[in-house]
């Protein structure tokens, strides 16, 4: 059963097309993350779902109801904003109660719901305070609480953690995940530009660019089998290595890029098959190994170390391999230095290869 269905949705401001013919289907209880860089239309899409923006074309269904022209309050949604958007003149309790009062929920019921939300979010001691007296993390809890008390089917998060510092962000991230697990039947749509949030929270991720969805899949698929070069480059940190080359389809297909030759016998081409031509070869830094760890891998070569970036737990090595720059990750305890010649290797099966023109996965 689907919770939210978006059907051929378009939005333009004058001549500017902000969202183009989007189709999305989100299941009940699913956690969907809309991920993309700023200006990709993800927040706009969320505002459309919320009913805060009038769409130009298409339909929106929530819980099997066509809500395309409904007011936000009638859509059965709760929303959490980046800037918390707490009403500064009201106490925490007032903030939580505001929506319910507008909906003319009986007083006793309001109190009950607030108590429950406060318990879930551990904000009981804060109820009598004003937002200005709260820390950022507390404010965002309250903001989540405001959606929670509404007892709705769909939660909309608009970059809820972006205003918090790294430590708090990690904390609240887990809490949101726990909340989602607790509220089994609640659908969550979560907008962010932070891929870690996306990977950790999402059941499925929709990667957006220029008002269109590039790929909609579970995090593992997005990570392992990005549908195009943009997605491959967007997901993963440090960023994936790209090498321009040619795909040669002899008996065994291989990649040729200058002096570099990578056999691709183990690579799984996608359905539409592979043709010879210019391609971009992608290999994630964490899938390249050195020394002993590289010994058994199908592809091995010698690389020269150019820059070393120690990051504590691990170290990022910038090296040159057959004239191409490759970054890879090694253990933080490594002793290699600039100028060392080292043996590296990887498994071409874990690569991603894209058509150089269409940038689509091969």
């Amino acid at each position: 059963m689907s919770s939210v269905i978006i059907n051929d949705l378009s939005l333009s401001f004058g001549d500017v097309k902000v969202l183009q013919s989007l189709d999305l289907e989100i299941g009940k209880g699913e956690f969907l993350v809309l991920l993309g860089s700023s200006g990709c239309g993800k927040s706009t899409l969320l505002n459309c779902i919320a009913g805060l923006l009038d769409i130009t074309d298409g339909q929106i269904f929530i819980s099997d109801r066509n809500v395309t022209w409904e007011q936000p309050k009638d859509r059965g949604i709760g929303m959490v904003f980046q800037s918390y958007a707490l009403y500064p003149q009201m106490t925490v309790e007032g903030n939580l109660a505001f929506g319910l009062k507008n909906a003319r929920v009986p007083k006793a019921e309001i109190a009950k719901r607030i108590a429950r939300a406060a318990e879930i979010l551990h904000i009981e001691p804060l109820l009598k305070r004003k937002p200005a007296q709260l820390s950022g993390g507390q404010r965002q809890r309250v903001a989540i609480g405001r959606a929670l008390v509404r007892d709705v089917d769909v939660f909309l998060f608009d970059e809820p953690l972006s205003n918090l510092d790294a430590k708090l962000r990690a904390e609240l991230r887990v809490e949101i995940k726990r909340l989602h697990q607790q509220l089994e039947n609640t659908t969550m749509i979560y907008v962010t530009h932070d891929q870690i949030e996306a990977m950790t929270l999402a059941d499925r991720i929709a990667i957006m660019r220029d008002g269109a969805v590039q790929q909609l899949a579970d995090p593992a698929t997005i990570y392992n089998r990005p549908v195009n070069k943009y997605v491959a480059g967007f997901i993963g940190s440090p960023i994936i290595n790209f090498v321009d080359g040619q795909l040669v389809m002899n008996s065994d297909p291989f990649l040729k890029a200058g002096d570099l030759k990578v056999p691709l016998a183990r690579y799984e081409f996608s359905g539409n098959g592979a043709r010879e031509g210019n391609v971009v070869f992608g290999m994630r830094p964490e899938h390249i190994f050195m020394d002993k760890a590289a010994e058994d891998l199908p592809f091995r070569a010698e690389a020269v170390v150019e820059v070393i970036e120690p990051m504590g737990a691990d170290t990022l090595v910038w090296s040159r391999l057959a004239g191409h720059e490759f970054r890879f990750r090694v253990d933080g305890q490594t002793a290699i230095k600039k100028g060392d010649r080292i043996a590296v290797g990887f498994d071409p099966a874990r690569a991603s290869i894209f058509n150089a023109e269409t940038e689509m996965r091969l």
């Binding site: 401001f13 809500v67 395309t68």
Partner: protein, 298 residues
């Protein structure tokens, strides 16, 4: 209730539209309607009462051959230029001085701003009194022994407009100062740190870095000053009544006198149309840039 079709556009935001009715009425009927009415009747020979006897451009021809109108325009030009330059410069300097983390900042600010609370009538009467040669500054200086001292701007046709300017500046620079001060306070402290580290002298920092950063404030100030300039009327009436002679006449007063005292509405309408024209040439492009073109969407 589930709506399947797009609702009528007229009823989207219905409450906002109802709430805006007074604004729409004011904009369309009073401002636009009243203005068009005035322009329309400026082509008639309406006297005491409006009447529809068209005389083409005759009112305008007469207007531009009337010495009093020409003097009014010249005065407005001097006054306007003086107001713009001095308000902005003095306002900015005062703001910059107050921004030096000085003691008694509140006291000084209060002193500079209080005249803004007073009406032009009051302002005009006070300055008329201070600039009165028999009792005011001229007399006091003479009593102190400088017998030939002469400072009687309100009685000297050549400089009377500057006498009015002094009073106008007294009344209104405080406001500009406040705007500027707010602008200065809004500037990132880091800019100052960067300028200090780069060894840029303070005045240069102000001139080359701070002022350009405060462009929006300057535009606001400019608009506020400009609004006041064209309107200047009460002050002149209270201070000089246009005298000595007709040396301190201003267009707004010409319009008023023509409409009501000379009982020549047509001429008054023509003069006000000219005022309007000059204002619109400046304001329409500004208003369009500021409010018309830009869209605010996420």
């Amino acid at each position: 209730m589930t709506q399947q079709s797009r609702p009528n556009q007229l009823f989207r935001n219905l409450h906002a539209k109802i709430a805006a009715i007074p604004m729409i009425f004011t904009a369309v009927v009073v401002f636009a309607g009243g203005t068009l009415w005035t322009i329309f009747y400026s082509f008639t020979d309406s006297g005491l009462l409006p009447r529809l006897k068209f005389v083409g451009l005759a009112q305008y021809e007469r207007l531009w051959s009337t010495p009093r109108w020409l003097i009014s325009i010249e005065n407005l030009f001097i006054y306007g230029l003086g107001m713009l330059v001095f308000s902005l410069v003095v306002g900015f300097i005062l703001a910059a001085l107050l921004d030096q983390k000085i003691r008694f900042e509140n006291t000084f600010r209060t002193i500079f701003l209080y005249p803004f609370a007073l009406s032009f009538i009051v302002t005009g009467l006070v300055w008329q009194w201070i600039l009165n040669p028999e009792f005011g500054i001229q007399n006091v200086v003479r009593q102190m022994g400088w017998e030939s001292f002469a400072f009687d701007p309100l009685y000297n046709p050549d400089i009377v407009i500057y006498g009015i300017l002094i009073a106008a500046l007294w009344q209104s620079t405080g406001l500009i100062m406040c705007l500027m001060l707010a602008g200065l306070r809004g500037i990132d402290e880091d800019i100052w740190k960067a300028a200090r580290i780069d060894g840029i002298p303070m005045w240069k920092t102000y001139l080359l870095i701070i002022v350009p950063m405060m462009k929006p404030v300057f535009i606001t100030a400019l608009v506020i000053i400009a609004t006041g300039i064209v309107r200047v009327y009460d002050l002149v009436v209270a201070q000089t009544s246009g005298g000595p002679g007709i040396a301190s006449e201003v267009p707004a007063k010409y319009v008023y006198d023509m409409m009501f005292s000379s009982q020549n509405l047509g001429q008054g309408f023509a003069a006000s149309t000219m005022m309007l024209l000059s204002v619109l040439i400046v304001v329409i492009p500004w208003a369009y840039l500021e409010f018309g073109g830009k869209k605010r969407h996420g």
